[in-house]
């Protein structure tokens, strides 16, 4: 077990992602750009069981705009949106807490996941951030936040592939 804990980051990297970024793009909003993305959440049976037992599950959606470089280009824009999914046994509904802190109730898990699949960034990206004629990269990732799980569950969440609910980085080229 000790050895597993040491090899933990390596195992995490080899995460067979059950969450996928379907699509991401930068769209022109009224007063700036906004990132639109579509995330497909797939819960494992273990995760579903934990959710039904009242354990909240949280994902952090990372939105970044980077300039491609030799190794790591500079990150021009960075945003993190946290979505927390929890089951209300009394009402038999699923509650989703969005990045603004608002809760939305859903009768089905699919409806709740659908709501989460279209994250709404809070910040609008300034037009000045992106110079025309240059290439950029839009990077999106939804990372399952194991640290929001109850303490006894955390070590197993890091080691058990059934708890590997994060997506890998999704990179989308942008030409301005």
């Amino acid at each position: 077990m000790l050895l597993w804990l040491v090899l933990l980051p390596a195992i995490s990297c080899a995460d067979p992602s059950s969450t996928e970024i379907r699509h991401a793009e930068l769209i022109d909003h009224h007063d700036g750009y906004q990132i639109e993305t579509e995330i497909d959440y797939q819960l494992s049976a273990t995760a579903k069981e934990a959710l039904d037992k009242g354990i909240p599950l949280a994902w952090d959606v990372y939105l970044e705009i980077r300039r491609p470089g030799f190794l790591w280009g500079p990150t021009l824009y960075k945003d993190k949106l946290r979505y927390t999914l929890q089951y209300h046994a009394l009402l038999k509904q699923y509650a989703v807490k969005d990045p603004r802190g608002n809760s939305e109730m859903f009768l089905t898990l699919t409806a709740a996941l659908n709501f989460m699949s279209l994250p709404h960034p809070i910040r609008v990206i300034d037009y000045q951030l992106l110079e025309s004629g240059k290439r950029y990269q839009l990077a999106v990732r939804s990372k399952f936040n194991r640290e929001q799980l109850p303490v006894p569950l955390r070590p197993f969440a890091y080691l058990d592939s059934r708890w590997f609910l994060s997506s890998s980085w999704f990179l989308w080229p942008i030409q301005k």
């Binding site: 040491v6 933990l8 046994a89 509650a95 939305e104 197993f156």
Partner: protein
């Protein structure tokens, strides 16, 4: 060695380590509490503690490996260290393992005791009760809503707007709103006058509405108040919907929340039961591992520190055993081991001091011996020492010079062995051996023998050596070549004789001669002829004999008086050729063999010429038939001095042993004529030139003489 690299002698660092381990474990233990703020650090603490365990395990492994290597090399103290560490590990591991086992057992049983079937059922029932209550309330509200919808049936938008206020007042609703299927609000009425717009359904609600044609659900998104949202189509008009929001009483909401919270909490705990057990077991295991590994590591360090003086002592003892007395061990502690180390240091100091004193004494003895050896080596007298069995122990350089055999090469052998290898010295060596064996006291004897350079006379003195208890342990023989001394004494005696002869004999000879001549002169005329003739014969005889005596005295005086040399640098070979040329007509056959390459000598040519004449004349007189003389000239080196060696061999009668002994003494002659001074003068001249002459006893076909003269060397003073 790994241990020396990981240098942690200070107890402070050990205390720090234990403090860190305890703090880390305490933090991790606190983090497991649900309410703890350290919950976020739990994973990191777990990783840190695991890494700490691995590092400690590595340190223990390195120390154990190092110990195994020391054991294999059989290093000092390794066995003691192994025994102590094994004992410690055994004593520490056994109780820790027992405590761990029972702790895990208690932990599992304790967690299991939290749950039982009755509570499970009670929780489920409570939830179901709450759900039934809410469902019943919902059914009632649905019924009310349907009545409102039927009242709005087939009414225009205006009448709906007028009617909706009445309907809201008659109901318990919080808000009533009518909207089209496209979401356009037809009319609304709300308890809250600040709500200008009604709470329209969101997309999810619309989705369900389109599927089911109606919608009802509790909305708990507002944390303050839970509301029941019911949307029904207005009968007869499928394109319009009425939405009624009914508030759930606060008391009901609180109760429902409370039940839900307890239920969820219980569900969560049930779900996490196994994880909790594993998690707590893991923490216990980490605590055990960290504590044990830290203790074992510290045990390694402490035991090594304890064993270090013993190790040093063993190494020190080995060093002393191998002769290194400079070992001074460090005294680290003032305990019993420290006392032992101090005693060891004192012991080695004393041993070293004793050894140094012995060495100094030995050096002094050696110096004394070397001093004596130097004196012996530079003595002109030969010294040979023998052990108790008369085997040669030492011999000095002078022994070689006098005997002409390297006696020092025969250490460990007897003189008899030496006599076998050097037959020419057998006589003298046997005599000395006999004297050594017989003498019980100091003895002295003159021994004459024929050496390679002719007759030699040795004055030998022998002393037997005795130990303190009177046991004979050896003997010393001191001998000196007194040949030259005896010769000088003889020469001095002959000189004195010559001087007295001159004084006592020669002086009366002249008056005798004059008296005889006067008798002849006076009486010759007066005596008759017969008497005169008799007188004449008598006086003539007197005069002749007086003349002969005078000549003899002159020769003698000549021999005795110091020579006056006119030294010149000449080639001896030229001089020899010159002298030989004078005898060409005499019928003597000369055979010359000149192998010399350096024949320059610094001599008085007149004297040397006389030497050659005397020797040649001597040979002629000794030869009865045809005289044949062989002359050999060669270079020899003796005692680091180069000599020109001239050998002259005739074919005459030769010399017997008695003659050889006295041939160079004055008035020794085998001839009828002659004064017997010829060879004595030759020897005198040669010796005055720093040379030597002797009879070659190995030559048996006649008489053979060997002359050695030092070769002239540039830069060397004569």
């Amino acid at each position: 060695m790994a241990y020396s690299k990981i240098k942690l002698p200070a107890s402070a660092s050990i205390l720090l380590l234990f403090g860190f381990v305890l703090l880390s474990l305490q933090l991790m233990s606190s983090a497991t509490q649900e309410s703890s703020e350290l919950g976020e650090l739990y994973s990191w603490l777990l990783v840190i503690n695991t890494l700490g365990s691995i590092i400690l395990l590595g340190l223990v492994a390195v120390n154990a490996y190092s110990l195994v290597r020391e054991l294999k090399k059989k290093e000092a103290g390794s066995k003691l260290t192994t025994r102590m560490i094994s004992l410690f590990v055994l004593l520490a591991l056994a109780p820790a393992a027992i405590v761990f086992y029972f702790s895990v057992q208690f932990l599992h049983q304790g967690i299991d005791s939290w749950f039982n079937v009755e509570i499970d059922r009670a929780m489920d029932d409570a939830l179901e009760l709450s759900q039934s209550s809410l469902a019943q309330r919902m059914n009632w509200h649905i019924k009310q809503t349907r009545q409102i919808a039927s009242k709005l049936n087939n009414q225009s938008e205006t009448s709906i707007a007028l009617e909706i206020g009445n309907l809201w007042r008659d109901s318990e609703a919080m808000e009533i709103a009518v909207f089209s299927s496209q979401g356009h609000i037809v009319a609304s009425s709300s308890a809250n006058p600040s709500d200008i717009l009604p709470h329209l359904p969101d997309e999810q609600v619309w989705l369900q509405l389109r599927q089911n044609k109606e919608y009802y659900a509790y909305d708990a998104s507002d944390t303050d108040q839970m509301v029941a949202r019911i949307i029904e189509p207005i009968a007869g008009d499928q394109s319009r919907f009425v939405q009624v929001l009914y508030p759930v009483p606060v008391r009901v909401t609180d109760l429902a929340d409370s039940i839900e919270f307890a239920f969820i909490r219980y569900q969560e705990m049930t779900y996490l039961r196994d994880s909790l057990k594993t998690s707590f077991s893991l923490i216990l295991l980490l605590v055990l591992l960290l504590s044990l590994l830290a203790a074992i590591w510290v045990a390694f360090i402490s035991i090594r520190n304890i064993v270090a003086p013993v190790k040093d002592l063993v190494k020190g003892t080995q060093a002393v055993a191998s002769g290194d007395y400079q070992q001074q061990l460090p005294i680290t502690n003032q305990d019993d081991l420290g006392f032992l180390v101090e005693s060891f240091n004192q012991m080695t100091k004393r041993i070293a001091r004793s050894r140094d004193e012995t060495r100094i004494a030995g050096l002094e003895v050696e110096n004394q011996r070397a001093y004596l050896e130097t004196i012996l080596a530079n003595l002109t007298a030969g010294v040979i020492s023998f052990d108790g069995n008369f085997y040669i122990r030492t011999a000095n350089q002078a022994a070689y010079r006098i005997l002409h055999i390297p006696v020092s090469h025969f250490v460990g052998q007897t003189l008899l062995t030496l006599s076998v290898k050097h037959a020419e010295l057998a006589d003298i060596l046997i005599v000395i051996q006999g004297l050594l064996e017989q003498a019980d006291d100091i003895w002295e004897q003159r021994i004459v023998f024929l050496g390679p350079n002719g007759r030699q006379e040795l004055l030998c003195r022998g002393t037997p050596l005795f130990s303190q208890d009177g046991k004979r342990v050896g003997a010393v023989v001191v001998f000196d070549d007194v040949t030259d001394l005896i010769q000088a004494q003889k020469n001095a005696a002959w000189g004195e004789v010559a001087r007295r002869l001159a004084h006592e004999i020669k002086n009366p000879l002249t008056p005798i001669q004059l008296s005889a001549e006067r008798l002849q002169h006076k009486l010759a005329k007066e005596l008759p002829d017969t008497s005169a003739e008799f007188l004449q014969r008598g006086t003539r005889t007197i005069v002749q004999q007086v003349e002969a005596m005078k000549r003899m005295v002159d020769d003698f005086a000549e021999y005795a008086k110091p020579s006056k040399k006119q030294v010149e640098r000449i080639n001896l070979l030229d001089l020899i050729q010159e002298v030989l040329a004078l005898y060409m007509q005499s019928g003597v056959v000369f055979k010359t063999a000149f192998s010399s390459h350096r024949a320059i000598v610094e001599v008085d040519p007149v004297s040397i010429r006389q030497v050659l004449h005397n020797l040649i004349k001597n040979a002629l007189e000794a030869t009865s038939e045809k005289c044949q003389i062989e002359i050999k000239v060669s270079n020899v080196v003796r005692n680091n001095v180069e000599y020109l060696e001239l050998g002259m061999y005739d074919n005459g009668n030769g010399l017997n042993a008695e003659q050889i002994e006295t041939i160079f003494e004055p008035y020794v002659t085998s001839k009828a004529k002659g004064t017997g001074l010829g060879l004595a003068i030759v020897k005198k001249i040669i010796e005055e030139h720093g040379g030597a002459i002797w009879v070659d006893t190995s030559y048996n076909d006649g008489a053979g003489f060997v002359i050695q003269l030092p070769v002239f060397e540039l830069g060397k003073k004569p």
